[in-house]
């Protein structure tokens, strides 16, 4: 209806403006959903109180508030559903570690070696190196909690204390365990033999970055772990077999003596999300990096924890929001973790979100 002058006076938004506005609307809707969810929970909580009070007043209520909550489910609590036999399994994000090992003396680097380890969630690796008569070995695994990466480093060093002849070498072993907490994208530097070298010895240093380190800048030769060898009396490590089966691969470069052995252990649990009628679903891992739930947000995180009763609980919250601005939350009762692995919750947005725990 408007004539061209009206159109020129107030132009219609372009296709690009429409797309950008739609994206903005989705982000803004999260805040509204959270507020609505809080209101709904408040109302249902009050309704629960009223029901309990009415029951108690009538004298017929032998069940208390807790029993009602357990039976009916606390506001936003899960409905437990048996897991279907054929559950689609979507693998988690690829983990990639970048390892740099070198020695340093008076600010000069030497014997630098680089390595990369790449594989699915559950990938871990062992590093071995030596400096003079001392050697170290360390096992590194990682997990992520939102923006935080936790590297779990189990390390031991061996040093030759004496070489009495004809007796065996006297070796001192020192075991250490470290949990290194990092912001994602940062690296941790380990000093296997301490911050200072003995006498004129250089300081040995290892830098670890992961589990989502960038890809190697130069092309490197990836290798699957070799399970054909192994000492006769030890056989091949089951970790190594698992690693090969799951496609964990390793690459090395540089001239330093750094040995990397990869392994794979099953991650504790995975979750698959299905939102209402919207598909596809996405798989994430506990304490996930940001991921998308189509229709809700392009960037959410999952946080899982055990509550004080041992129940496995989770919260889904916007990656850019605070921990209080969760979109959905729920708990598996402690006694149901094995029998029931799927639950459905109503998100703060009023949508039905199915969260399915997938056994490894």
């Amino acid at each position: 209806m408007p004539g061209s002058d009206w159109d020129r006076m107030v132009a219609a938004p372009s296709e690009a403006e429409l797309a950008s506005a739609l994206a903005e609307v989705r982000v803004r809707a999260i805040g509204h959903s959270v507020r609505q969810g809080k209101r709904r929970r408040l109302i249902s909580g009050l309704a629960l109180l009223v029901v309990a009070a009415a029951g108690a007043y009538a004298g017929r209520a032998t069940v208390g508030l807790g029993a009602i909550a357990r039976r009916a489910g606390a506001p936003s609590s899960p409905n437990l559903l048996p897991m279907p036999a054929s559950s689609p399994y979507v693998p988690g994000p690829v983990q990639r570690f970048h390892i740099t090992n070198w020695s340093e003396l008076d600010g000069v680097r030497m014997n630098e070696a680089e390595g990369w380890v790449e594989g699915p969630l559950g990938t871990f690796f062992t590093l071995r190196g030596s400096l003079g008569e001392r050697s170290f070995a360390g096992t590194v695994s990682a997990n992520t909690y939102g923006d935080t990466t936790v590297l779990n480093v189990q390390m031991y060093t061996r040093s030759v204390l004496d070489k009495p002849r004809p007796a065996a070498e006297l070796i001192q072993e020192v075991r250490t365990g470290r949990v290194v907490r990092l912001v994602r994208g940062q690296g941790a530097v380990l000093y296997p033999f301490g911050l200072r070298g003995q006498g004129d010895e250089p300081v040995s240093m290892i830098r670890l970055e992961g589990p989502y380190a960038p890809e190697p800048a130069a092309s490197v030769r990836w290798q699957l772990p070799d399970t054909s060898g192994g000492r006769q009396n030890s056989g091949v490590s089951p970790w190594l077999k698992e690693a090969r089966a799951h496609g964990v691969r390793v690459a090395r470069s540089g001239f330093g003596a750094l040995s990397i052995t990869v392994g794979y252990s099953q991650p504790p649990m995975r979750f698959r999300f299905t939102l209402g009628a919207l598909s596809p679903s996405v798989a994430v891992v506990p304490q996930s990096p940001p991921f998308a739930i189509p229709g809700v947000s392009d960037s959410v995180r999952l946080w899982t924890h055990r509550d004080r009763f041992g129940n496995l609980c989770f919260q889904v919250f916007p990656a850019r929001g605070g921990r209080n601005a969760f979109l959905a939350e729920g708990c598996w009762p402690n006694d149901a973790t094995t029998g029931f692995t799927r639950l459905a919750v109503t998100t703060a947005q009023g949508q039905r979100l199915t969260v399915e725990a997938i056994a490894p």
């Binding site: 408007p2 004539g3 002058d5 506005a21 609307v25 803004r28 805040g31």
Partner: protein, 169 residues
Amino acid sequence: MIWTEETFQSVFRAAYPRLVRAAQLMLGDREAAEDVAQETFARLLARDQLVAADAERWVFRVGRNLAISRIRQVKRLLPLSRAAQDELATWDVVPDDERRVERLRGAVGALPARQREVVALRIYAELSYEEIARTVGRSLGSVKQDLHRAKLALKARLNGTNAESIDAW
């Protein structure tokens, strides 16, 4: 019932451009209009799904209320696209089309807020008289009267130019 992707997108694509333009005429500022329209649709997405016709009604009613709140917040009506006026002043020779649009802008800007609101809903939101009445919460007669007065005022200010585009509604 939750919004499905297709339903929400169809409502958004149909109503968002109309709401933005109507809000721009009311607020006199494109960015503020986009803000109001996006806020409206965010609220729509956060609530249960509505059928398309109800959703559109809801969108224009909420959008209009948000625009009014915005006007109250700034305590005054913003001048209609001052930037465009400034740009126009820098031109040595103003094309006829631009001069005409500028006169129309000046004439609409001079309308009382109540009349400008119904003009915005009629022209840019493309609502019927009945829908406008429901949206602004006034009687049908009152809306028709406001539109008629707006037409007369615009015609008087424009001295016969833009007559077709005014008569069109």
